[in-house]
Structures are given as C-alpha cells and as structure tokens.
C-alpha cells in the first residue's frame, strides 16, 4: 500500500501511547478495553442496586405482613429488581466481557465500530436513570412512583399503571437500541476483524457464544421495542392493540413479551456458557472437550429458543394443541443444553485439576444451573405447570437459572480475568470465602422457595398465609447472608483494582491458560494487536 497521507496522521490515535488522561478517557472512550471496563463497572454496580432491592423484597417477606414496603411499593420494587438485574446487571456485564475479550481473543486491534460501541454503552445509564427517576419524582409529589406491573409488564395492568410505566417503556426502547448497537458491533467485529488464520472453527467458544447471543438480540429485541411503542400508544393515544373492546387482545402482549423474553434468558445465559469451558480447561490443564459440539449446541439453542416462547403462557388459555406444541418444543431445548453439560464434564474428566476461585465458581455453576435447568424441564410440562406457574417454584427455578447460571459464571469470569485486566492477583482467601458463603447462602435462600411453591405460595405478593411463614423466614435470613457475602466480593474487587496488595500477575496468569489474550502482558497495553498475530 502507498505511503500514508500525512494529512491523516494527526487524526490517528498514536499507537502504543498511554491512554488519554482525565475523565474524558471514559466519557469519550473508543478503546474496547475502556468501554469493556465501563460495562463491567456499570453492571456490577447495578447488580448491587438490584441486590439491594432484593434485600428489600426479602425484608418485606421475612414474616407475614411486615410493612417495610406498602403493597404499591412492593410491586414497584420487584419490578425494578427484575428489570435492573436482567437488563442493567447481567446483560451489561456479559457485554463488557465481550468488548474486553473478543478483540483480544481474535487478535483484532479493537472493535470494528468503536464510536458506536461507546454510544451503545452510554445509552445504558440513560435507561437506568429513566427506570428509577419516577421514584425521585414521587418524592417531589409527582406521579405514583415507578412501574409496578412486574417485569413482564402485562397489559392491561400496564395500561392502568401510573406515569412510571411510560418511563419504563421508554427505558426499554433505549435498552433495545443499546443492545442492538452492541450486537451489530460484535457481529461485525467477529466477522471482519479476525487475525489471519483465525477461521470460524478456530474461534474461542466464548466468541462463538457471543455470535449466537448477538444474533438472538437482533432477532428478538426489535419485537419488544415494537411492543413498547404499542403499549405507549394504548396508554395515551387511544389505540386498542391490547384491549378487547377495540378487537385487540391482552394475550397479544404476552406473545410479544415472551417472543422476546424466552430468547432473552438464553441471551443472559449463553455468554457465561462460553466463558465456562475456558475456565474448566484451564484448571483441568486439558484441552476443551467437544468444541464443535458446543458450537453446534449454541446454534441449536439459539434457533430453538425463538420457537418455544409460549411455555410461559400455559395458563393463559391457549388451545390444547398449541400448548402441546410448545411443551414438546420446550422439552427439546434440554437436549442441546445437556450437550453443553456433557462437554463440561468431558473437559474436566481425567484432567489434573486445581481449585482456584474461578474454578470453584465454575463448578458451582454446573451444580446450581443444573438444578435450574432440571426444574425448567419440570416447568415445561404443560399439565404440571398449571400448578407451578406463578408460584415460588417458578421463582426458585429462575433464580437457580439466573443466579446459578449467569451470576455464578460472571463471578467465575471476573476472578479469572481480573488478574489479566489489572495485572494483580485478587485475594484467593477472600475469593474462597466469597464462593463458599455464596454457595451456602444461595441455597438457603432459594431451596425453601421450591417448597413454598409446591405448597402453594403465589409469587408477587407482599403478604402471605401463615403456613408459608417458617420457610419464608429461612429464605429471608439466607438472603441477608447472601447480600453480606457480596460485600466481601466488592471489597476483594476494590482491593485488587485500586490497591497494591495483590501479587503481580504474569502474562499467562494461570498455569493452564491458553488463548491469544494470555500471550499479552497483564494488564494488556492500551492498544493491542495493532499488528495482527498469525494463527497457525
């Protein structure tokens, strides 16, 4: 190629330079590592916000008729807890991993569309503010607080809801825009920026998990956005999409929401099922088992997840034939998920394992998500779901799936990559305490909830009948312990990031680690792979 035009040079970010100084480094970031870190920080913060709301829920449920929260406030708190955890904690964290790791893993200098990347990130705080702003307005005497319909926002309850609902629908629109931009960027990066020799079937599994996740996001989020527009129209512009009087149907919203919502749970899950095999292989000192099987499973899960949504609507009065279809197709998803489990087992089988914190969380993931998945199988039975639907059995299922899966996977990933990102080791002792206490406390919180559901306790109620009192108390006490334990994590994180306590991390970090990201120093320089590595 001809000599570089000198006029261009001043536009070029001088490579190998130190990062820009000051706050604008973050506000104006175009560097994938900086943006990745912002996603991670934002997500972890929001995890604590969501967790704080969870603690409020559990305080209210400590005994029948506690009045920590009024029934209105309770409905608002569970709604925002769900929305924050799903959209503002787990999704940003997994997207943070994607931004930080994908370019390193595929040998790219950066994401393909760096400015778009930053835009996608900054839409998130905007959306989060819109979600909670109505609480602030209420303090000023305006409106009735935030949305109180549950995170599923079923019409016509959502039509009846106060102004907070409008804020939430607008927030979801921004979240959708953000996710769409992030997904476009990730797909383009993976398709275009791979280092020479990095063929599709050499991509690390984590990258593959994001190929499917990003495709899913593009395939389903716009539907939810269209739905939100219709909700706003029904609320304020006199349309009748979800109202029988005008020929519409409230159940239509359920279809729209779950057409998005079911793939969404795999959007939350898949990135962590992508990180998991790396960690298992590292600490088993063994190559990953069943690479292709995992990739095909991701694709199968992605495709199947789009055609099973109405298993959330088994009690909504669908015709029997429709229920049977959705039951059978939902059951089929357990096959590719089980393939993943099988590959995880295969990866550690006859390895030479050690059990550092990331490995502990990875093993904990297998067990806890196993319980979540197996109970999901139970729920997919359209007949038995008549009993489980909207009870605490369901709540326990999805916390085992959401905490046992994504959150455990996120912890595993954070501990695994923290030394790489910061150049310092975290405290192994604290990490282990964190794991142990989390494991114990988590089971204490949610195992009783299975029993509560079986005994007949509905979800989304601030007060409950007396026979549910003992187990709720156990669950709440567990939740307080679980919350306190997470402060341990926060401390460990802070001390690694800001302190100097940890031992310096080597480039490899872990004895058994492999992958391009571990060929770089820890922490990696601001710009990496400006000249691409060649993969053999």
């Amino acid at each position: 190629m001809s000599a570089v035009n000198p006029a261009i040079e001043h536009l070029h970010e001088p490579h190998h330079d130190a990062p820009p100084r000051g706050i604008t480094r973050w506000l104006y970031a175009t560097n994938h590592k900086d943006i990745g870190v912002m996603y991670l920080v934002f997500g972890v913060l929001m995890f604590f916000v969501g967790g704080l709301l969870a603690e409020l829920i559990r305080s209210e449920l400590l005994t029948p008729t506690m009045r920590v929260l009024s029934p209105e406030a309770y409905n608002q708190v569970i709604t925002i807890h769900g929305l924050v955890m799903v959209f503002a904690a787990v999704m940003p964290i997994t997207t943070g991993f994607a931004n930080y790791l994908i370019p390193l893993m595929i040998g790219a200098p950066d994401m393909a569309l760096p400015r778009l990347n930053n835009w996608g990130f900054w839409l998130l705080p905007a959306a989060a503010i819109l979600l909670v702003l109505p609480w602030g307005l209420k303090l000023l005497g305006i409106g009735t607080g935030t949305i109180d319909t549950g995170w599923t926002m079923y019409a016509p309850l959502s039509i009846q809801a106060g102004p907070g609902a409008d804020f939430a629908f607008v927030a979801v629109l921004l979240l959708g825009l953000s996710s769409t931009m992030a997904s476009i960027n990730i797909l383009v990066t993976i398709a275009q920026q791979r280092a020479p020799g990095m063929s599709w079937l050499k991509l690390p599994v984590f990258v593959w998990s994001w190929v499917v996740t990003a495709l899913l996001l593009i395939a389903v989020f716009p539907a939810l956005m269209a739905g939100c527009v219709m909700q706003i129209a029904d609320r304020h512009f006199g349309t009748h999409f979800f109202s029988a009087a005008g020929g519409g149907d409230p159940v239509l919203w359920e279809h729209i929401f779950w057409f998005f919502g079911h793939p969404e749970v795999y959007i939350l899950l898949l990135p962590t099922t992508g990180i998991l095999p790396h960690i298992l292989a590292t600490f088993a000192r063994k190559p990953m088992y069943g690479y292709k099987a995992q990739v095909y499973s991701f694709v199968a899960i992605g495709v199947m997840s789009i055609i099973v949504w109405a298993h959330h609507m088994f009690t909504s009065g669908l015709p029997a034939g429709v229920e049977i279809y959705f039951m059978l197709s939902t059951m089929a998803i357990s096959i590719p998920v089980a393939v993943l489990f099988f590959c995880w087992f295969g990866t550690i089988w006859r390895g030479s394992m050690t059990f550092e914190t990331p490995m502990l969380f990875a093993l904990g993931y297998i067990v806890l998500f196993g319980i979540g998945g197996l109970t999901g199988l139970v729920l997919s039975d359209a007949a038995a779901d008549q009993q489980y639907h909207n009870t605490y059995f369901l709540v326990a299922h999805f916390h085992y799936a959401l905490f046992g899966g994504p959150i455990m996977g996120i912890f595993a990933g954070l501990y695994y990559y923290l030394p790489k990102m910061t150049g310092r080791m975290y405290s192994e002792t604290l990490g282990r305490w964190h794991f142990w206490l989390t494991l114990i406390a988590f089971n204490v919180v949610f195992m009783p909830q299975f029993l509560l559901g079986i005994a007949g306790m509905p979800r989304r109620i601030p007060d409950y009948a007396l026979q549910f009192a003992p187990l709720n108390m156990v669950s709440s006490i567990g939740a307080f312990l679980l919350g306190a334990t997470q402060l341990l994590f926060l401390y460990n994180l802070a001390r690694t990031v800001f302190g100097t306590a940890g031992a310096p991390a080597s480039a490899r970090v872990w004895e058994g680690s492999s992958g391009l990201e571990f060929t770089l120093p820890s922490p990696p320089p601001f710009h990496t792979f400006s000249t691409p590595p060649v993969i053999e």
């Binding site: 629109l173 825009l177 920026q193 593009i218």
Partner: protein, 291 residues
C-alpha cells in the same frame, strides 16, 4: 495457539469522541420529554426541545467528522466492510421491527377478532356469558365497542404511492449506476429525482391521513384496524422521512464532489435503506390496503 507477528495492519481506530455520549444524552432527553409529555407535564416540552436540538447538532457533527475522515482517505477495505456489515445488520433489526408489526396485524385479524366473535350469542355454549353477544368477525374491524369507519380505497392514493416508491427505487439504482460509471450528472439527477419522489410520497401520505381522519372516521381510535393501520403506515412514513433525509445529505455531498466510483459506502447505505423502505411499502400495500 501460537502468535507470530506480521508487519502491517492498516486499521483506523478513531480518536476519543464526545459525540456518542452526547447522542445518548440527547436520546435520554427525548425519552424523558416524551414520558413527561404523555403525562401532561409541562417540563416535557423543555426536555423534548433540548433533546431534539442536541440530537440534530450531534448527528450533524458526528457525520461531519465521519465524512471528514472518509475524505481524508482513512477508510480502506477493512473499514468499508465493517460499515457495510454494520448497516446490513441494522437493516436486519429494522426488518424484525416491521415483521413484528405485521405479526401484530396478523394476530389481531386472524386470531383476536375471530376469537372475540366466537363469544357471539349465536354460539350456544357461550350464550349466557357472552361479553359481546352481537359481535361478528370481519375485517376491517374496530372491535365490539368500536366506532364505524371507512377504509382507504387502495386503488386511489395508495396505488399511486406504490408507483412513486417503486420508481424511486429505480431512480436510485440509476443514480448508483451513474456513480459507478463516473457519470456525475446522472448521479445527481437520479438522487434528485429519488428525493423528489420520496417527498411527493410523503405529501400524499399526509393528505391521506388527513382525509382518513376528516372524512372516513378512520383514526387511531378505530379499534384494531385503525391502530394497526396507523402504526404500520406511520412507522413506514417515518422511515421514508429518515430515508429522504439521508438521501438529501448524500445529494449535497454528491454535489460537493464526494464519492468515487469505487468508494461510496454512504451512498450505498442510504440506497439499501431506501430499498428496504420500498419493500416494506409493497407488503403494506398488499396486507394493509389491499387484502
């Protein structure tokens, strides 16, 4: 895996940029303003106004910067491919958006309305419980409690609009051919024609909406028919507007001498978008107006 370094990697990483965060702030203000306005809170106007100004300003500056970079020759094959795929995925997400709206139309028409009509008292097992004893399924429909209305005649303005948009698809392709062959005049004329056709379409559409409200009694309030009709045609109209703005910007740039026969991603992006909007219209014409 073994990493061996190779000498040259001509990839442009932009400098830190203030535009993304300001654009997010603009969207935040627009969202906030909308949420406040629909609840009749006066502060909404301020947020909306400020948001719109900021939005326009940022887009102007951001695109300005990108155009500057493009002119400076910073974008080579790699960047070009990235932009292309980015635009294609973006259009894919738009396809899903419209597909959902069509899905809603399908659901309301073929599932919801017949379902409601099944509670007709004529259906004996429902008789004593019928919420809508006199409702019968037909399309167009404004629902059991709806008001009467008339539909837009597809063979009037809508057919004309179909013709307009289809020809605009041809003219934009013609402009593209001109650009590729280095015939600048053809490029400019083609674009000008396209924008003109698009604006005429919008004018007709606005006229049709006004007529629907004034003479046909067809409004947003006209049950599911009115709701699906206006949301589909409305969002389409919005997309035509955005497309027309994009093409006008391209036209201005073409006038200023931008774009080379090999290098004209922005033109292509705008024209893909335009074709996408065209196809949506065809489906609209068939499923909303005609059938």
């Amino acid at each position: 895996m073994n990493a061996v370094t190779e000498p040259h990697h001509p990839y442009y990483i932009p400098r830190p940029s203030p535009y993304p965060i300001v654009l997010s702030a603009a969207l935040f203000l627009l969202g906030l303003g909308a949420a406040l306005r629909v609840n009749a809170l006066a502060a909404g106007w301020w947020a909306l106004g400020l948001g719109a100004l900021l939005f326009a300003y940022v887009l102007f500056r951001w695109f300005g910067e990108v155009i500057g970079e493009s002119r400076a020759g910073l974008y080579r094959a790699q960047e070009d491919r990235a932009f292309r795929w980015g635009m294609l995925w973006f259009i894919t997400s738009e396809v899903v958006f419209f597909a959902s709206l069509f899905g809603v139309l399908f659901y309301e028409r073929n599932i919801a309305v017949p379902w409601l009509a099944s509670f007709n008292a004529a259906h004996t097992s429902w008789a004593p419980f019928s919420p809508w004893p006199h409702f019968t399924a037909h399309w167009p429909n404004s629902g059991p409690a709806g008001t009467p209305f008339e539909v837009v005649n597809p063979w009037g303005i809508p057919a004309l609009n179909t013709l307009l948009l289809l020809s605009s698809g041809v003219t934009v392709t013609w402009a593209h051919a001109g650009l590729r062959a280095g015939r600048r005049l053809q490029l400019k004329a083609g674009l000008l024609l396209t924008v003109a056709l698009g604006l005429t379409f919008l004018g007709f559409q606005a006229h049709e909406f006004a007529e629907a409200y004034r003479d046909l009694g067809l409004t947003l309030h006209s049950g599911v028919y009115g709701a699906t009709f206006f949301i589909l045609t409305g969002f389409h109209g919005l997309h035509v507007t955005v497309g027309a703005i994009m093409l006008s910007a391209i036209l201005v740039r073409a006038w200023k001498g931008d774009f080379t026969p090999e290098h004209h991603f922005a033109f292509e992006a705008a024209s893909w978008y335009w074709h996408f909007v065209d196809v949506v219209w065809l489906l609209l014409f068939v499923f909303v107006y005609w059938l």
